[in-house]
């Protein structure tokens, strides 16, 4: 069955810019690409199989007879399809990717190579533990690094992403409170500038979320926070450095106050890149912090995942961390502690104090990310990681000071920023906003900064260059952003219809949400439709 009954037709060629229309809709290297369902067919396959009879006999009466509707392509067509699609993406490999709070740094290819060693890539999670000592060794070695870099007591390695790590930390807190008989503490305090995952996570775990206000200089209002502490407060979730790119100077003081009031401190570690090797969160009284391996430790973002979110834990929370975990004994053997051995292990090595809240995911976490992150860490070493933070902060301040004369920088007066520089849309011409600057940057060949986040800054533009950008790359970006900002201040209407040179012009997001089309469907045949 061919799926493309109606036949794929190229989109309307662009008109009106003086360039001729093309028959295909393509413009030289800018190639239009239909959906696989429009060019493939259900009979086509790009895979050869061994010959032979495959009559099934033990499927009960459940053989799938109805058409499934999966289009196939030959290998050549498949390679071409995805190669063409890939060229419609911006990526770090193409240029600076200053998406604030996302830490889009270079992804070293050594990390890809080691993750693909058969000894890591082709190993099953349920093999006997004796046969996976190297894999467990990677987890254990990475865990050791994360503990030492953060000055914490333990680490939970299994969370699958940052938000999953937040959940892990919050569950540790909940388990610790219940163990203390204080399960009645239901409130989690979250600053207004927090990532949306913070309040969502607390709510997901059954807590009530209350906002903490920010001060005019972009930090948590310590006085307001302290005033809110009390017997109903379970925890405070703070991002440090925060999403305005500022170090929370009072964090230690806040931690002490929270602990004195019987609560715990969760630190969102999304921005750890700014302080790795310079500050250990453990020294600031943090009880739990997730580390986005895809940010600080450069595992690739892959178009939106997979992430990996190990959570470092204080001595107070470590006993409650999830199963499974690894532990290396003096003989060098790496143990995998799953449900069955948890109690025995606790008795043998921790006087029976371990009390895990349970399992968060099947198997042992994002192994493929662990190998990459460990290779990254070993490449940098303790000295290199410190340099990472220094260069990341240096680059961000360089951007901040180079542009503060052009763009409004709401916190520039209060001192240096950390890893990211924040600007607002103040001073742009009437009717112009952050999005127009962002789309203008696309035409300049850059991915835009984070837009409209954090919420505490009007029309926020959050720029995080990362340490892997050269000065020349920064200078070019600064020049481009200055040019676009000046056009926005002058009211250049061409910005309102930017981008002009991208594979697509601005897309109608309202239409997408109002009438969701979430999958391709075969076109209704003309005869059928007429009935």
């Amino acid at each position: 069955m061919a799926l493309n009954q109606s036949g794929w037709r190229p989109s309307t060629p662009q008109q009106g810019d003086g360039a001729p229309a093309t028959f295909t809709g393509n413009r030289a290297l800018m190639l239009e690409e239909p959906l696989i369902f429009e060019i493939g067919s259900t009979e086509t396959t790009g895979v050869d199989f061994a010959a032979g009879d495959v009559a099934g006999s033990r499927l009960g009466d459940l053989t799938r007879t109805a058409p499934i509707g999966l289009a196939g392509l030959s290998e050549q067509e498949t390679v071409r399809h995805y190669t063409r699609l890939s060229r419609q993406n911006y990526a770090i490999d193409l240029g600076l990717f200053p998406l604030g709070s996302c830490t889009m740094k270079h992804n070293p290819r050594l990390n890809e190579k080691v993750a693909r060693l058969p000894g890591f890539a082709d190993v099953h999670p349920l093999q006997p533990v004796d046969t996976v000592q190297g894999a467990l060794g990677v987890i254990n070695e990475l865990a050791m690094w994360l503990i030492k870099l953060t000055g914490m007591y333990g680490v939970a390695m299994s969370p699958k992403a940052g938000a999953h790590g937040e959940l892990c930390g919050i569950l540790c807190i909940k388990a610790a409170l219940e163990k203390r008989g204080e399960g009645h503490r239901k409130v989690v305090l979250v600053p207004e500038s927090a990532h949306g995952t913070n309040p969502a996570t607390a709510a997901f775990a059954g807590f009530t979320v209350e906002d903490i206000p920010a001060t005019a200089d972009g930090r948590v209002d310590t006085a307001a926070l302290k005033a809110r502490l009390g017997p109903d407060v379970a925890a405070v979730m703070i991002t440090n450095p925060n999403t305005c790119g500022l170090f929370e100077r009072d964090l230690k003081e806040i931690s002490d106050a929270v602990h004195a009031a019987g609560g715990y401190v969760y630190c969102d570690g999304a921005n750890f890149n700014a302080i790795v090797g310079r500050v250990r969160p453990g020294d600031l009284g943090v009880d739990a912090m997730h580390i986005n391996l895809h940010k600080t430790f450069s595992t690739p973002h892959g178009g939106g995942g997979p992430g990996s979110g190990p959570v470092v834990l204080s001595e107070a929370l470590a006993p409650f961390g999830p199963l499974p975990f690894t532990a290396r004994t003096a003989d060098g053997y790496v143990h995998l502690i799953e449900e069955e051995r948890a109690e025995e292990f606790s008795n043998e090595h921790f006087d029976g104090t371990l009390d895990s809240f349970g399992r968060m995911t099947a198997f042992h976490g994002q192994m493929g990310m662990f190998t990459r992150a460990l290779a990254y860490i070993l490449s940098h070493g303790a000295d290199g990681l410190r340099q990472v933070a220094e260069d990341a902060v240096l680059n961000a301040n360089y951007v901040l000071r180079s542009l503060e004369d052009t763009l409004d920088a709401p916190f520039a007066a209060s001192g240096p920023c950390m890893h990211e520089a924040i600007f607002s849309d103040r001073g742009l011409a009437e009717g112009f906003s952050t999005i127009d600057v962002a789309k203008g940057l696309i035409d300049e060949g850059f991915h835009p900064m984070t837009m409209y986040f954090p919420l505490v800054v009007h029309g926020a533009m959050l720029v995080e260059p990362t340490e892997t950008e050269s000065k020349a790359a920064l200078d070019q970006f600064i020049g481009a952003l200055r040019s676009v900002a000046e056009r926005a201040k002058a009211g250049d209407m061409a910005l309102k219809t930017a981008p002009h040179f991208a594979p697509r012009a601005r897309l109608d997001e309202t239409l997408a949400a109002r009438k969701p089309v979430l999958r391709w469907k075969p076109p209704v045949a003309v005869a059928e439709a007429a009935e």
Partner: protein
């Protein structure tokens, strides 16, 4: 350091532009007591690419590689042949080093791929819609239970004994904190699934029934009566598929009227990777769309009228809804979804059916051969590419002993259900297209000797 491009001269010049005398000035907001004065002690310094590769290779060599030995493990993670072009394509930098497609004009590659992925997954699972992926099957399963609670406003979920025990554990962990009541059971080492028992348990408090298909022992049952029973009590049926290749051979849960179908997509394109990263599949009936977790990609048009794609329905998600979001999930498993989608595109429907047929035929031959080993009984009447043996003695030490002989024999139920004596003799054996007749013979011979 090879990944840091700034030169000392650059740094000095940049500091002067900033107006700082040293890098320490930029860290002035850090309280003095928390400042580290140099690299953290007792951690090594930077290392060359060669040195790091050597270290990692040495660790990799300490693992027994699935492809090097007769290999029969499954139980939620399956070894399939992944065509070479899959890994080549996902390593294109434009896919590998892109971020979440928040700027759709320069992310159409990722977005169109996700739209195609959603279409493929919905077709495979037999659901109206599917999202852009979850972390993995186990977390997708819990999200489905939470979604059923929101839809039905009931808090009791009935979990089949055939559901993967790790998936059950994840649900138990979360339920402790959300207040959901879980009715769970252990599998019974027999040919019949627990469908009838599940039907008997459904009552007016039930939000959903969660059933794995094929189940943890490899058994397959028609879900239609269970779906009918759920719907009669206004409960939802959640079906869990840990081996998506099976759906090239057996009817999809959606065709049997399951309301939500979740799965582990690792079998296609992703590889074993010691358990992660994998890719969670999540599909459902369209009427439940607004209660779904995770990202969706939707079709739209641009200002010039050209078709294009964007992330959509984000008013359910944490970055808009914060504490009122349907889930706290932020990332999907984008690159693994890409691998899944490329592999599926290479297969096409004809290829998937053929692949499924080969898996089933191999498994049938293996089951027949292993049934001839004295003392071994094949538990299943029905299976796809995975079945359970009762080997008449505790299976876990046998698996370990066979590993010493270079045969990775399968997953013992003792590993999955420690301390459950009634299951201790069970061995779950997966037979995919990667298993040869020689491999089966090696397993049969080794088992014979171990059981003699």
């Amino acid at each position: 350091m090879r990944y840091l491009p700034l030169t000392p001269a650059d740094r000095a010049e940049m500091l002067s532009v900033i107006g700082a005398s040293s890098i320490d000035d930029l860290f002035a907001d850090v309280p003095e007591a928390a400042r580290l004065d140099g690299p953290i002690r007792d951690l090594p310094g930077h290392a060359s690419e060669l040195a790091v590769e050597r270290h990692m290779t040495a660790l990799a060599r300490k693992n027994m590689v699935a492809g090097d030995v007769p290999f029969f493990l499954g139980a939620g993670a399956y070894r399939h042949h992944v065509p070479a072009s899959v890994d080549h394509l996902i390593q294109r930098g434009e896919f590998l080093t892109a971020y979440t497609p928040y700027q759709p004009e320069i992310a159409q590659g990722t977005l169109q791929m996700l739209f195609e992925f959603q279409t493929q997954v919905a077709s495979l699972l037999g659901t109206d819609v599917a999202n852009a992926s979850m972390y993995d099957g186990s977390t997708a399963c819990w999200e489905a239970i939470g979604m059923a609670r929101r839809i039905t406003r009931r808090g009791k979920a009935i979990l089949s004994g055939g559901l993967h025990p790790h998936y059950v554990s994840v649900a138990k962990t979360m339920a402790k904190y959300t207040g959901d009541v879980l009715d769970t059971a252990l599998p019974v080492l027999g040919a019949d699934t627990d469908i009838d028992a599940l039907i008997a348990k459904i009552d007016d408090e039930t939000s959903c029934v969660v059933v794995q298909y094929p189940d943890i022992l490899g058994r397959i049952a028609d879900l239609t009566p269970l779906a009918d029973a759920c719907h009669a009590k206004k409960a939802l049926l959640i079906a869990v598929v840990t081996e998506p290749v099976a759906l090239g051979a057996i009817r999809s849960p959606g065709e049997m009227d399951a309301d939500i179908v979740v799965g582990e997509g690792q079998s296609l394109g992703v590889g074993l990777q010691f358990g992660g990263p994998y890719v969670g599949l999540f599909g459902c009936k369209e009427k439940y769309l607004r209660q779904t977790p995770g990202r969706f990609c939707g079709q739209t048009v641009d200002a010039d009228g050209k078709r294009g794609f964007v992330l959509t329905l984000s008013t359910r998600e944490q970055h808009i809804r914060r504490e009122k979001a349907t889930s706290n999930i932020c990332t999907n498993s984008g690159l693994c979804a890409l691998a899944f989608s490329i592999h599926m595109t290479l297969l096409g429907e004809a290829g998937l059916r053929r692949l499924a047929g080969i898996n089933h035929a191999n498994a049938c031959r293996a089951a027949d051969r292993l049934a001839k080993v004295p003392g071994v009984r094949v538990v299943n009447d029905t299976f796809f590419n995975e079945f359970t043996l009762d080997i008449g003695k505790e299976a876990r030490p046998v698996v370990r002993a066979l590993a010493d002989r270079g045969v990775l024999a399968g997953v013992s139920l003792g590993r999955l259900y420690p301390g459950e004596d009634a299951l201790a003799n069970g061995l779950v054996v997966a037979v995919t297209e990667t298993v040869t007749d020689d491999d089966v013979e090696a397993l049969a011979t080794a088992l014979e000797e171990a059981l003699a």
